[in-house]
Symmetry: C2
Subunit: 359 residues, 2 copies
DNA sequence: GTGAAAGCGCTAACAG
DNA sequence: CTGTTAGCGCTTTCAC
């Protein structure tokens, strides 16, 4: 059997229902003035013919595709998988769909933007990738709002929502200090990404405030991945005359996990006995028994909701929000990779999660 | 600033370039007959206006949207994240994009199908979800090819590509037997999913062939997730008068990992000393130091390529492939969760991966 | 409340 | 090679 060439259109339905084509259109447009009786006739005919309105065609006139583009840079990090999933679910609930654009981690998404313009998407969410200000204005000029998820582009007027990354970095610093650490190693991600920069900055700032010497804060690059952090740690500790830090801050959980495995399985260190460790994100993987990672939880649902709000998908006539930067506070989740100091006063905004762990 | 209402169309470009509108269309259509000189004039004008052809509009006439729908049931399993990523990359290379539809794991995707029909996608890939035969024919009738990824629907004429799941189950059985195991536990996933069924079936068949008694093969349900397997194992072993099996087969890696953590961290068992274990998929997470999971590798790149081939995206006039079932053999990857029997003859199709592990 | 008719932005014959 | 002219399937005035 070869493929059907002529698809069933609203005209076919109209003919079967004995009404005009515009009646069919109205039957499928909520809130349009149509008699309930005609509506039923149309719906019945439509069902008989398996008719589904062609939203591609309708978007030509309405200028709405109900498609939101999501630019993703790093699906190797489970955090962004979670982000994708949350966006997809929320949008589906609203009758919209996600069009995926994957770019190399840390790469410019300019090309992706060019492609998504062709699809006339209603909005774009950008995460884990860079964006030129030129592309931002091209989108804005065409009336396509773009919101940055967990990053900002300095000098750009794109709006964004993000975790308070610097604040989160400070929370980790405080936890380490409370547990008695005085020398540190940071494993950073994409050096061009503001997320990594901010977390590191907040972390360092807080340490310096407490009198830690700058020379006691080392830094290595873990390329935002498990493998990157794993090998970066091995490289760093391979240098024998380097003194071992007392605490390691993985800028995100997946790197903290990579570092942790390198420390335990290759360097034979015990955590938190020999060395304490923390991450950032609170991905489900970090909660698992082998890791029990102390971390900062990103309020992902709230962040997604706010990002969607910023898009004004339901009121396209509203002006595009520009230059908004909406930080949302994270929450320290205390698990097993930082020893609890005796008589420790849990600060506000801290959750203590003691997992059942019989080992 | 309020949004731009009038977008730049091919007419604007035509006017600026001093040519007809159809010339603009030709300039952007590869292989159409147009003088190189006019082409350049048009491209130049287009660049000045930041013009990008509206592919929504063009799809109205060409009947091609260059959008492929991907129905995903379970992003909690990293295997499917990898699948998504691979599809997205391949399709982007071809100038196409992926439209995501997430459904509850194991749920019917009928509603998703109804939605994707509206978008006139060029094809649909369905994975980790169920599909009624009725929906299959609705798609086929409209000329939309649908290929099942790693599953098949009995009685449906949808084509699919999958790993040889039964064969993979047999490979695991053989490895266990070679290592001397005689009593077994399977942790299965979605009971309605053919993937889980086939792996279990192949596994059991092979064991029975070797004279294992059916009563020595237990089975519990792990709902295809880490957490599901983790708690299923705790529940099963909580019953003290149950004898401990010598080998556990997690129908997929993520469940094997959950089981492994429950066994080690909650039940205090050593793997492979006290108990051997294997998974299926070969997700990167299973290769990590804490797991070193012996498993069957799914040839994901090959599977994605074949699935895309079946869609005939480049030759839409070809008839839709029906009822094709394309199994591709997996490969046993021997790591640390099954002890290597002395003087073991590595069968063909086996890869031995000894990870550097200093512990 | 309903039908007729004019587009939305583009492609695809069709003449020239 | 290029311009003209119909549509693609739908929404949206505009009369009735």
């Amino acid at each position: 059997m070869t493929r059907n060439t002529t698809r069933t259109t609203s005209f076919d339905v109209a003919a079967l229902a004995g009404v005009s084509q515009s009646a069919v259109s109205r039957a499928f447009t909520p809130g349009s003035s149509i008699a309930e009786e005609t509506r039923q006739k149309v719906l019945e005919a439509a069902k008989k013919l398996n008719y589904v309105p062609n939203s591609i065609a309708s978007s030509l006139t309405t200028k709405r595709t109900n498609i939101v583009a999501l630019i993703l840079g790093n699906l190797g990090n489970p955090f962004y998988v979670h982000v994708l999933h949350t966006f997809s679910q929320r949008l589906q609930e609203q009758g919209r769909q996600v069009l995926i654009f994957t770019v190399d981690p840390g790469a410019e998404s300019d090309e992706a933007i060019l492609h998504l313009l062709k699809y006339q998407v209603d909005g774009v969410i950008l995460t884990a990738a860079q964006l030129s200000t030129r592309m931002t204005s091209i989108c804005h000029d065409r009336g396509i709002p773009i919101v940055l998820f967990n990053r900002y582009i300095p000098g750009s007027d794109a709006s964004g929502v993000r975790c308070d990354n610097a604040g989160g970095g400070r929370l980790i610093a405080e936890a380490f200090l409370a547990a008695g650490a005085r020398s540190f190693l940071m494993i950073t991600g994409d050096p061009k990404g503001t997320t990594s920069q901010d977390r590191a900055r907040g972390f360092v700032e807080r340490l310096l405030e407490e009198g830690v010497r700058r020379s006691d804060i080392a830094e290595i690059e873990g390329s935002s991945s498990y493998e990157g952090a794993y090998s970066a740690v091995l490289r760093h500790f391979g240098d024998k005359n380097r003194t071992r830090p007392e605490a390691i801050f993985g800028i995100n959980d997946i790197m903290a996990m990579g570092a942790m495995d390198a420390l335990r399985f290759r360097l034979g260190l015990k955590i938190p006995e020999d060395l304490m460790l923390a991450g950032f994100d609170d991905i489900p993987e970090g909660r698992r028994a082998p890791y029990q990672l102390t971390t900062v939880r990103q309020p992902i649902n709230q962040m997604v909701d706010e990002a969607l709000d910023m898009l004004h998908l339901d009121e396209p006539s509203l002006p595009i929000e520009r230059g908004l930067d909406h930080p949302i506070a994270g929450r320290l989740i205390w698990r097993g990779t930082i020893p609890v100091p005796p008589a420790y006063q849990w600060p506000a905004g801290t959750t203590r999660e003691a997992e059942p762990n019989a080992e």
